[in-house]
């Protein structure tokens, strides 16, 4: 470019300053949430807000004693792990077959779940599950959350399976290997990193999903995220507890996201973008 070296250095400096500024804007609200969760209850609502305080776990203790927080957490784990396993169990073989036969329209149909509003599915599901008296059951929650996890698993795994050279399959077939054996013994081990990425993304998507549990859970099976409402109701008097709840709900996805950050973008865009 036409710029002189000193000019370019000045621009590099400006670039860094703007980048740090962006980082601060991105980080501050989250940091505020975490800080508030450790403030003594009388100080959370102090005005003007305080920055220096004696950190305490009081809000977390209150949360645990005044709400069935552990139960909600268990429910969230049951639904999230259940739907992730279900998605993997159905999605991995389906992605393998779609990649081998190049028949991808069933995979495209699963994308409808990403395009239609959740309420569109909730209305018929509500009627269906009410008919068989399954509203509030873990089964209903796991099945509906699998609608979130299945497309993630299939679309994250497809490019991994596509990357396996077809000559490997053909050689195995010549040796008399059945498709089922090829899948289990050859293809699956070759896409193990893809399995890990898809499992983590499916977990995060399922954990974060709000709408289905809002309608289909009951007081016994309510997930953390569907219980957020109760915390907000309490939050009008107890911001500390609200921020403690928000921090705990955000923690698993944030930790897992940090683990898979390198593969995150290609996974989140369901293969539309190579990260």
């Amino acid at each position: 470019m036409t710029t002189r070296p000193s000019d370019s250095r000045w621009l590099d400096g400006l670039n860094l300053v703007l980048l740090v500024l962006a980082g601060v804007i991105v980080m501050t609200p989250t940091a505020w949430m975490v800080l508030s969760s450790f403030k003594p209850s009388y100080e959370v609502t102090a005005y003007p807000p305080t920055l220096v305080f004696q950190p305490t776990l009081e809000n977390y203790a209150t949360l645990n004693s005044q709400t069935p927080f552990l139960r909600y957490t268990m429910n969230s784990l049951i639904v999230t792990v259940g739907s992730t396993l279900f998605g993997l169990l159905l999605g991995a073989p389906a992605a393998f077959v779609a990649s081998w036969t190049r028949i991808t329209w069933p995979a495209v149909v699963t994308l409808m779940a990403r395009m239609a509003p959740g309420t569109l599915f909730l209305l018929p599901w509500y009627v269906m599950f009410r008919q068989v008296d399954m509203i509030g059951s873990y089964t209903a929650l796991i099945l509906t959350h699998a609608v979130i996890t299945l497309p993630v698993v299939i679309w994250v795994l497809l490019p991994y399976f596509d990357n396996i050279p077809r000559s490997i399959y053909e050689a195995a077939q010549v040796d008399g290997c059945s498709p089922f054996r090829i899948f289990r013994r050859i293809a699956l081990p070759l896409v193990s990193s893809g399995l890990a990425v898809s499992a983590i993304l499916a977990f995060v998507f399922s954990w974060n999903f709000f709408l289905f549990a809002l309608v289909l859970s009951n007081s016994q099976t309510k997930t953390l995220i569907a219980a957020s409402f109760n915390f907000i109701g309490e939050g009008s008097t107890n911001w500390g507890g609200l921020m403690a709840a928000a921090t705990i709900i955000a923690l698993p996805p944030l930790i897992l996201a940090a683990v898979v950050q390198r593969w995150l973008i290609s996974g989140l865009t369901l293969g539309a973008v190579k990260g």
Binding site: L120, M243, L254, I265, G275
Partner: protein, 289 residues
């Protein structure tokens, strides 16, 4: 390829569970909703007729048109902010070249947290009487704002929260596009002595268009179905000013249990999303190079 019958059977067995699930939980419910949207229910929830009643009610419903307006307003405002800021952030990240892992985690954090959590935390920050945002405003000598409680600015405030959450996502997608551009075009421009802003407008941006349209598709699908954040913070208020079509349909369906009318609203919203995706895919084909 010569696949014998047994092989074909095994392949079918492997894809069948996913296929059955997709038909039962995704395809059939969509058809069922279309069917319900043509059913007329009595006030007690009994089906009393069949026809276009729900749709004629919709066209005459002011709150439906308000929902369309709020949906589009929120969509356009958020999309424009996220594309402009996201492209800017991507250019900053691209120039910095090496990005420490911790920085990457930092930029990932807003869009990996549940929108519900983002809503909880911004509710506290934007609280009209005790929130940190108004404390900053008043410290700067500016008048305080009622933020999410203000009918006039509730949509821009929601767009701002969503932009905080999703700009880094757009930025990382655009960064991927920047990194895949052939370096030769820059080198040619450098030899020609083209000024920096011209390189951006004439070379970088046109080459980046397919990536930008992809980002638009991905954000459009989420923004037109905007739900979690609104439901947690305002539930469509104050006075319906943030009542998107999705929120309205949900409340009609699950607070008033008018399943037929809610179905009609959701089918309409789905057609809007589908229309946007088709239009943007056409656009992508046009800007592909």
């Amino acid at each position: 390829m010569n696949v014998n019958r047994e092989h074909r059977g095994q392949m079918a067995a492997m894809s069948m569970p996913a296929l059955v699930f997709t038909v039962a939980m995704i395809a059939f419910p969509i058809i069922y909703t279309i069917w319900m949207s043509f059913q007329t229910y009595s006030s007690t929830g009994q089906v009393i007729g069949w026809g276009g009643d729900n749709y004629s009610r919709m066209v005459a419903d002011d709150r439906f048109w308000n929902g369309i307006w709020v949906t589009i307003y929120l969509y356009v405002l958020s999309l424009v902010m996220q594309l402009v800021l996201g492209t800017g952030l991507a250019l900053l990240l691209f120039r910095a070249r090496r990005l420490p892992g911790i920085m990457r985690s930092l930029f990932i954090s807003p869009f990996m947290m549940p929108p519900v959590v983002a809503g909880m935390m911004w509710l506290v920050i934007l609280d009209p009487s005790l929130g940190a945002a108004n404390w900053i405003l008043t410290s700067l000598g500016l008048p305080p704002s009622s933020w999410l409680a203000s009918p006039a600015i509730v949509v821009p405030v929601l767009a701002m929260i969503d932009t905080w959450q999703w700009t880094p996502y757009v930025a990382l997608i655009v960064l991927g596009g920047l990194q895949s551009l052939p370096p030769s075009v820059y080198e040619a421009a450098e030899i020609d002595g083209a000024p920096r802003h011209k390189v951006f407008w004439r070379i970088t941006l046109p080459l980046l268009l397919p990536t930008l349209v992809t980002a638009m598709v991905l954000r459009s699908v989420d923004l037109l179905r905007f739900f979690d954040l609104i439901y947690i913070t305002t539930q469509g208020g104050p006075s319906d000013r943030s009542m998107t079509l999705n929120i309205y349909g949900f409340r009609i369906g699950f607070e008033f249990f008018q399943l037929g009318y809610a179905s009609a609203l959701m089918i309409t919203l789905s057609i809007m999303v589908l229309g946007a995706v088709i239009a943007l895919n056409r656009l992508r084909a046009a800007v592909e190079w």
